[in-house]
């Protein structure tokens, strides 16, 4: 007799737990306001990435096309994956002395793991993280970027 009572209590307890689960999904079924999906390509206009978002590495240039990179190569040394290559030139400055300037600051996005060591270690704060995250391209070679803009020069800080 006891086992029969057990049989039915088990049955009803089981059914009630099932109903508890169905209540949760049922609740969400009738509250479409709980939908959390973001409509990605449509919300491009309003989509604002976080200020610190690590999308890619950029070299900020000011309105006079000046950047802060001295070409010291510390970022190149610090990068664990070898995704930064710096080609430097020696150019005579106003006083006639040869000075090192960057020719190309090459950044291989395909190799970058966004560890942030280059940005952190840069002594002249020439590098920063950009918010751009749509990096998909059809050709892998397009992921190799030159960070300094053509014709840009190093910013001479007033010392």
């Amino acid at each position: 007799m006891n086992s029969i009572a057990q049989y039915f209590t088990d049955l009803f307890k089981g059914l009630s737990t099932l109903w508890a689960g169905m209540r949760v999904t049922g609740k969400y079924f009738f509250s479409p306001g709980a939908i959390v999906t973001q409509q990605y390509p449509e919300n491009r206009k309003t989509l604002k990435m976080e200020e610190r978002f690590k999308g890619e590495i950029i070299m900020p240039h000011d309105e006079n096309n000046l950047h802060a990179c001295t070409g010291c190569g510390i970022c190149e040394i610090n990068c664990p994956n070898g995704s930064i290559e710096i080609l430097t030139d020696r150019v005579a400055n106003a006083e006639g002395k040869l000075e090192r300037v960057i020719d190309k600051h090459i950044y291989h996005l395909s190799m970058c793991t966004f560890c942030g060591l280059c940005v952190k270690t840069c002594p002249s704060d020439a590098l920063a993280f950009g918010q751009e995250f749509e990096h998909a391209v059809f050709d892998r070679s397009k992921l190799t970027k030159v960070l300094n803009q053509p014709g840009s020069k190093i910013r001479k800080e007033a010392k």
Binding site: D10, L11, K13, G14, L15, T17, L18, A20, G21, R23, V24, T25, V36, E50, R52, F53, K54, N78, P80, T113, F114, C115, G116, L117, K120, T121, F129
Partner: protein, 376 residues
């Protein structure tokens, strides 16, 4: 309902073995793991894990990188507790150089550890539900995990692999909103956790699928080195946060969750309780973050004194031990990661043979394996 004793008949007969491969391309192996399973009918006779599909040789790579650079590799071992892995390497460097990190750093690291642990357990919960066929859990788990990832993104700029910890402290300070958003998250998640219980924990089908399945005794757990929630489900007290407190764990009160049943449901219960426990740890710390520097003074080039160093931390899956042999250079001479999943995986044959193939999926789900952590 349907409670029935487990039929554990491992009959090694003359019959032909029915060998079947689960993985590397299988929906339930959570990565490229291959389980070679021998079946008798639906019952697992034995299984044989094959790994190495994503072996990247992280230990070898470490030998060529400086300690700051190693951090970003540890992210990629157990990617679900990336922050905790980072902390292990940072602490071993701090130990070796005898650098005292600021209190603020300790607090923030501990909070992030626990947030990371919750995020990892959430992902485990939803994937575990999906392994058992409850597909909706996956989306509820991910929905709530998103809140943590948003906090991470705001502070570190990345959501999953945030090499945020560096030897001596943090890469930069947390975002000013960090405290506010974390508190919001705690409040939000406290309302969602009962839903998890209604949907899955209490469910009679789920309980029948998990109770009494994949029994692992305490001796088995210790012998195989099964740590973390999986080991604690068998009564193996192995919480490094308790044994050897690091960070701010000595300043908070929390319980080490221990269950003694040793089955899938016990491991499930440990993880669910750990989420509650982590919330309470964060709650104790979040309002008391001291002001101060976010990093200790470190030299730009870190050279560890020659010698051997050993450090353990508790990741979301168990004990991560880092063993470094330094010869005084800026790169380690030998770096060994004792990763939790490596040991957790190989207990599978012991605890899964004799159960059904459907139970095998439940068992592998309950061990919460992350395959890159095994392969390294």
């Amino acid at each position: 309902m349907m409670s029935e004793e487990i039929i554990k008949d491992v009959i090694v007969g003359e019959q032909e073995d029915y060998l079947i491969n689960l993985g590397p391309q299988h929906p339930s192996t959570h990565g490229v793991l291959r389980l070679e399973v021998c079946l008798k009918g639906e019952t697992v006779k034995y299984l044989n894990p094959h790994i190495g599909y994503i072996h990247r040789g992280i230990e070898k790579m470490c030998e060529a990188l400086t300690y700051q650079q190693i951090i970003h590799l540890t992210d990629r071992m157990d990617y679900l507790s990336a922050h905790i892995n980072n902390e292990a390497v940072s602490m071993i460097v701090e130990d070796a150089l005898q650098v005292e990190v600021p209190e603020r750093v300790k607090y923030i690291r501990t909070i992030l550890d626990e947030l990371n642990r919750i995020a990892s357990h959430q992902l485990w919960w939803c994937a575990f539900g999906m392994d058992l066929g409850a597909l909706t859990t996956f989306f509820y788990g991910l929905r709530d995990r998103e809140h943590i990832l948003d906090i991470f993104e705001e502070s570190f700029g990345s959501r999953l692999l945030h090499s945020f910890v560096c030897p001596g402290g943090l890469m930069h300070d947390v975002h000013p909103n960090f405290q506010k958003r974390t508190k919001e998250f705690i409040k939000y998640f406290r309302t969602k956790l009962p839903e998890y219980d209604q949907l899955l924990t209490g469910n009679i089908i789920f309980q029948n699928r998990s109770k009494g399945i994949g029994y692992m005794s305490r001796e088995t757990a210790i012998g195989y080195g099964v740590t973390g929630p999986s080991g604690r489900g068998s009564g193996f007290s192995c919480d490094v946060r308790k044994i050897a407190p690091y960070g701010a764990y000595d300043k908070v009160r929390f319980n080490e969750i221990l269950e003694t049943e040793g089955d899938v449901f016990a491991r499930y219960k440990v993880r669910m309780a750990e989420m509650h426990e982590s919330l309470s740890i964060i709650e104790q710390l979040i309002d008391n973050i001291p002001e101060g520097d976010f990093t200790a003074k470190m030299k730009p080039i870190i050279k560890l004194p020659a010698g051997e160093y050993f450090r353990r931390v508790e990741t979301a899956r168990g004990e991560l031990a880092v063993y470094v042999v330094s010869d005084g250079n800026k790169t380690p001479y030998r770096m060994k990661f004792r990763t939790p999943n490596f040991s957790n995986l190989f207990v599978m044959n012991e605890i899964a043979s004799g159960y059904k193939i459907a139970d095998l999926i439940a068992i592998s789900g309950s061990l919460d394996l992350v395959i890159p952590d095994i392969d390294r």
